[in-house]
């Protein structure tokens, strides 16, 4: 490999950067963080629906990448390896939270002073921005309604734009099953939003 410099860091692909990082070049790691932190956040948000959890998971993922840099082998794409780490962390968090929900504290109905606090949303949006926000919310809500095994693969394929081979690698599910789940996930999403889409079309 040629000499690695701060100015040329953007010219390297992920796998080259990872190799440089394995040789001790921290700059290479910083570039990988820069490339993936937003995409990783978006990816994880659909699992957690919580920005704070996403922040923590993104941080934890990069921490794992940093600590386990020598376990990465170039036979796999860097993104595949990293998404696998993120996915496993998200699944662990999901399981942990499910356990936590079982010991939730409810509002005390017998206490007249214990009441729900309702805060008004102070964010005022322009029409276009509002429309986009509503569309996005509607789509995300429908996506969350898909069964977990469908949601996971359509997110990797259609939102993260990974190939079928990469989705197979990340999920550890056979190719035929991945395709079958993606076909049904996409179809089910369309059915969930059928009325909404038709309404939007009629209005135009």
């Amino acid at each position: 490999m040629d000499s690695f410099t701060a100015t040329s860091v953007k010219n390297y692909n992920d796998e080259d950067l990872m190799e440089y990082f394995q040789e001790g070049k921290e700059l290479a790691f910083n570039e990988l963080v820069h490339r993936y932190q937003v995409r990783l956040h978006n990816f994880l948000f659909r699992y957690t629906k919580d920005h704070q959890d996403c922040e923590d998971l993104v941080q934890e993922t990069f921490l794992r990448v940093h600590k386990s840099k020598h376990s990465y082998e170039r036979i796999a794409k860097f993104s595949t390896w990293m998404y696998t780490i993120a996915l496993n962390l998200a699944k662990s968090l999901y399981k942990k939270k499910q356990r936590m929900y079982k010991i939730s504290i409810h509002k005390d109905e017998s206490d007249p002073d214990d009441r729900e606090l309702v805060l008004e949303d102070e964010r005022i949006l322009q029409d276009d921005a509002l429309h986009e926000k509503l569309c996005m919310e509607k789509l995300e809500k429908a996506l969350m309604e898909l069964p977990q095994e469908f949601r996971e693969v359509v997110m990797l394929r259609d939102l993260q734009q990974l190939s079928y081979e990469e989705v197979t690698e990340i999920t550890g599910v056979p190719m035929g099953t991945v395709k079958s789940r993606i076909n049904r996930g996409r179809a089910q999403l369309q059915l969930l939003l059928k009325n909404y889409v038709q309404m939007g079309t009629n209005a135009e």
Partner: protein, 79 residues
């Protein structure tokens, strides 16, 4: 759940559906698959709904990218 979502097909058919939805078929394959869809309502429903779903996901991806770009722009002003 709609019946066409519950049906299971041979992996070859699933691959045909994916390739048709992703527009990765050549002309001859496309004609052959469309002929199959004429005779099988469930495969047709699954395929056409999957095309609609893929478009919606593409829309969501674009909206997310725009939102992320705006957020980064705003952050750059406040930095």
């Amino acid at each position: 759940m709609d019946p066409f979502l519950e049906k299971e097909y041979h992996p070859v058919i699933e691959t045909f559906i994916s390739e048709y939805v992703d527009d990765e078929m050549d002309r001859v394959e496309k004609i052959a698959f469309e002929e199959l869809m004429v005779h099988d309502d469930d495969i047709r429903d699954l395929t056409f709904n999957a095309i609609g779903g893929k478009k919606l996901l593409e829309e969501l991806r674009k909206l997310k990218n725009t939102a992320s770009l705006i957020r980064r722009l705003n952050d750059s002003f406040t930095d």
